[in-house]
Symmetry: C2
Subunit: 316 residues, 2 copies
């Protein structure tokens, strides 16, 4: 008796990325042509998405976390019988890991230590801090914030999550004891905040969410980390705080302006760490997408509900 394996097409990239092929096969399906496929893993742009699909295709996996462009391109309305999934959640891990790296490097005084070319133990001792017992406020409790929380708590940090609703952050990996505060009450967290991680979306409301006033309420040991969008922090106010050492430092994967121009003071301030928006480089994105695809193909094969199902009527 021949087994009729589930067939997954990968398009339009040809040859298909090997990591994706491995993920499909590892999840118990086979990679095949779109004409005979049960599902489609789409690696391309919204405007290139096939206008017609074989009737056998019941599921399409999209390569992005935010799928507004696919909605605008009419992809969902063109295929009312197909279930669509996004890559929501898949890309958060690497950005959260980057935020943790920046925070730890700052708190443990790595920038100055890296510049040293002689043994300065006594000089550095007083500056080496720890996250243990410290309160880290994460502004934005979306995918990145929620991925960061379980990385912080084993370090003994207390986490305050800030989101729009103030509804308690929850999830499989969210430990007990995380406090959630609504954005409109952000002002009351500063007095018991040691460090801030900015991980909220850029909107008109979040522009300069961290400005001179907020920075003035932080401690001389506080680090401010931004892995979201540069506009959430008032750069001039931040440069003032860093220059005056009124905060410990800033770790920025995103800047305003971005790219940060040559000669900008942030490049040479000793308490600023700049990484050029590389917290989620292409090779890590592909690996994370492959993990997501593998998990969803396994669910598809088993007839279980898929992850990150798109509400195609609402477009998210």
């Amino acid at each position: 008796m021949q087994e009729s394996a589930t067939t997954i097409a990968i398009a339009p990239d040809q040859p298909a990325p090997r990591l994706l092929e491995k993920a499909v096969v590892g999840a118990g399906a086979r990679v095949g042509e779109l004409a005979e496929a049960d599902a489609l893993i789409w690696t391309g742009k919204p405007r290139d998405f096939p206008s017609t699909l074989p009737a056998s295709v019941r599921w399409a996996q999209l390569p992005a976390a935010g799928i507004e462009d696919f909605f605008d391109a009419g992809v969902f309305t063109a295929h009312p019988a197909v279930q669509f999934t996004s890559a929501a959640g898949a890309f958060s891990h690497s950005v959260a890991e980057h935020a943790l790296m920046l925070l730890l490097a700052g708190v443990r005084y790595l920038p100055e230590q890296l510049r040293a070319t002689s043994w300065q133990q006594r000089e550095f001792f007083p500056h080496v801090g720890s996250l243990r017992g410290k309160t880290v406020t994460i502004v934005g409790a979306g995918g990145i914030g929620r991925a960061l929380i379980p990385m912080l708590t084993p370090l003994g940090a207390h986490v305050i999550a800030v989101n729009r609703s103030g509804r308690p952050v929850s999830g499989d990996n969210i430990p007990a004891g995380v406090e959630t505060v609504p954005t409109d009450q952000l002002a009351r967290v500063w007095s018991h905040t040691d460090h801030v991680v900015v991980a909220a979306p850029a909107t008109a409301q979040t522009r300069h969410l961290i400005g001179a006033d907020e920075l003035s309420r932080l401690k001389p040991s506080s680090w401010v980390i931004n892995v979201a969008r540069g506009s959430l922090i008032d750069t001039d106010a931040l440069v003032d705080a860093l220059t005056g050492n009124s905060i410990g430092g800033a770790g920025l994967d995103v800047t305003d302006p971005e790219p940060l121009p040559d000669g900008h003071p942030l490049w040479t301030l000793p308490n600023a760490i700049i990484t050029p928006h590389d917290s989620n480089p292409p090779q890590l994105r592909l690996a994370a997408f492959a993990d997501h695809v593998g998990a969803n193909v396994a669910r598809f094969v088993a007839g279980e509900p898929l992850e990150a199902i798109i509400d195609t009527a609402r477009g998210y």
Copy 2:
């Protein structure tokens, strides 16, 4: 009715460190004179330990994790009726956090990024890695290694712990899925190791545990972290590996020789991070000791078994 509070003496530092007083009071006891004390928190040297103690003193907390010097000074035999506790475990957290910082900074290419004074996203992209899905071998599964494991697993790293016996590492915070390998089978871990953290004691057996042969089995992306003692790594072989880029890099809080002399190649190799044995600076040691004291005083007040009880006959 007057409550007779448990009285804890702190000696010989006068005034007693405020953090210790706060820990005692926070745990429900009062700080008092040794003459009327139920227990003694000792902050001094072995040779200064009181030769006689009031009969009321039933417990003495020592300030060190390794208490050989107290044993050699005859402290335990002089006070056969007193229960002694060490600070074993208290100081591991900060060193483990430092190891994690060095590893993340290396894997995510921070040294080169920190030196940049212009936006080099495309240049840096291929070099930014992640611990997700990577295997970290921790050589030495004592306090530091065991503290590091639960910090690594939320990052999606697989952990191999290496200890003398090969007996599976276990404990409250040790997640399932940690593989334990005995030191004499260390050779078989290299083929599936991505990164190495050295956290084993320095003995004749562990000298140059990581030498030219071990380094040659690692990957061009592998980072080697040492937070134990410099002698565990063959420095010349490490410099060769770093110079030839046969490994990704090294993060060293300890060196051989130590202090690392001015002009040593490790100071200027772009893929080496040196911190001058400051992973556990005095202020963090005191804070950690205060946490330990607070936990033990609370147990003492409640009549529960204390943590880190010393076997005074054996001296550990």
